[in-house]
């Protein structure tokens, strides 16, 4: 998987993510204050912390869904030029939360095609995704008939089906058994080797070398 070639026109590939002085609040509660975090191409960060410490909120803030109380999230390309955040999020960011966006009543193949095409498919990314995640036997089933693990594999397929540099993953491994965890680990390793970036909120360690970042206890 070559991110340089697969990337879409109109937006340069993200090669750096810089979070500085980020303060996030949910309602009355301050999740964290003045958080600094930096990633460059090939970096993977494993966010840890107690339930409610703000892992998901941090991912959603990077994806642009949550407006921070203060601080900034900045994206840059390989030459360290800034990329406008809205552009980066529209073309270069994958957000995969515990809600996967799959429609229960639709056939798996339709959903896979939609998710990958909507986010910008690569030439043969979808075939790769079907092969790596062994989705072929699932493609003609309705999404609601899939098990939690199968459903997660289908959702993960869009990471390969549509090449985007920054992966924001919320508990990506939770419904998967150990065999599939290794497959997803290999996917991540390939992505990093191709210059991608990963921020993942996890409870169990990821099967790849990562930098840990602990958000601590529930504030």
């Amino acid at each position: 998987m070559d991110i340089e070639n697969g990337s879409q026109e109109g937006c340069s590939v993200i090669a750096g993510l810089t979070i500085s002085g980020l303060t996030l609040t949910r309602g009355e509660r301050t999740l964290f204050r003045g958080l600094d975090l930096g990633l460059t191409a090939g970096d993977a960060i494993a966010l840890t912390g107690a339930n409610g410490a703000g892992k998901t909120s941090l991912l959603r803030a990077i994806a642009g869904f949550l407006r921070p109380e203060s601080g900034t999230v900045a994206f840059s390309d390989a030459d360290a030029n800034a990329i406008e955040a809205s552009e980066a999020r529209a073309h270069e960011v994958h957000m995969l939360g515990h809600l996967d966006g799959l429609k229960g009543g639709r056939v798996a193949r339709e959903e896979l095609m939609f998710q990958s095409q909507w986010l910008g498919r690569s030439h043969d990314g979808i075939d790769d995704a079907i092969e790596i995640l062994r989705l072929k036997p699932l493609l003609d089933l309705e999404v609601r008939k899939l098990s939690a693990g199968q459903r997660r594999r289908l959702a993960l397929a869009r990471l390969i089906g549509s090449p985007r540099a920054l992966w924001l993953l919320d508990e990506p491994l939770s419904p998967l058994d150990s065999g599939w965890r290794e497959v997803v680990g290999a996917m991540m390793a390939r992505h990093l080797a191709a210059g991608g970036l990963i921020v993942a909120a996890v409870h169990d360690p990821l099967p790849i070398p990562t930098r840990g970042f602990d958000l601590g206890a529930r504030s």
């Binding site: 529209a90 939360g97 996967d100 966006g101 799959l102 939609f114 095409q117 909507w118």
Partner: protein, 221 residues
């Protein structure tokens, strides 16, 4: 195929299928227009003058039916996050969803409306005008309705909230639409009322997407 095309195809498939599609809207519409003669008495002299008004009221109510699932389901299953990280702005996503809502309920309703109006005693010459005005008005219903659905996102019992927010906004098209039919029935040109209806629809089509996109963003935060 472009991202917008891909999204449009999916939204149309979701709006057509999966329960509460065009059949439900048209069935509800037919029920409403059947109940009125039963409640008000079947005297053609009573029904004929109000046929246009009843048809438009039923159109407005039938357009409310599937609004609740327009954004709520996407919020619940995470699809809204996926749509928000796509290559086109949320305003365009909103417009695509409203347009598919129009094609999946407004269009079938516009085809059903002349039949129902006919059954209420409206003269057959008015059938084409009934269909055209219902089609144009339906576009306005779809965009203002989608705005109401976006505003009600995340609220408990959102469906009821949508009806309360949206029905007052449906008053102008109901007035202009049934007014056009009344004028035509009286032998006056309906163009002035149709122009007002079209003006309302244009206004809705322009205003609803940015407002709806803002509502969706705040529901995601």
């Amino acid at each position: 195929m472009s991202a917008v095309g891909v999204l449009f195809r999916r939204e149309l498939a979701l709006a057509w299928g999966g329960g509460g599609g065009p059949l439900l809207a048209c069935g509800f519409f037919a029920c409403l227009t059947t109940v009125v003669p039963l409640a008000a008495g079947g005297d053609p002299a009573v029904l004929k003058p109000v046929a246009a008004g009843i048809a438009w009221l039923a159109l407005a109510l039938s357009s409310l039916l599937s609004l609740e699932r327009l954004f709520e389901r996407d919020l619940e299953d995470g699809a809204l996050d996926l749509l928000a990280t796509g290559p086109v702005p949320l305003e365009v996503v909103f417009a695509v969803k409203a347009l598919s809502q129009w094609l999946a309920t407004g269009l079938p309703l516009a085809l059903t409306a002349p039949i129902a109006a006919l059954a209420l005693g409206q003269s057959i010459e008015l059938a084409p005008l009934t269909a055209v005005s219902a089609l144009v008005g339906g576009l306005g219903f779809a965009f203002t309705g989608a705005l109401g659905a976006a505003l009600a996102l995340g609220a408990r019992r959102g469906g009821l909230l949508i009806a309360v927010v949206v029905l007052p906004l449906f008053i102008p098209p109901v007035v202009f639409g049934s007014g056009a039919l009344d004028r035509a029935a009286a032998g006056i040109s309906p163009m002035s009322a149709l122009a007002l209806l079209a003006a309302y629809v244009l206004f809705a089509v322009v205003i609803a997407p940015p407002a709806g996109a803002a509502a969706i963003r705040s529901a995601q935060g």
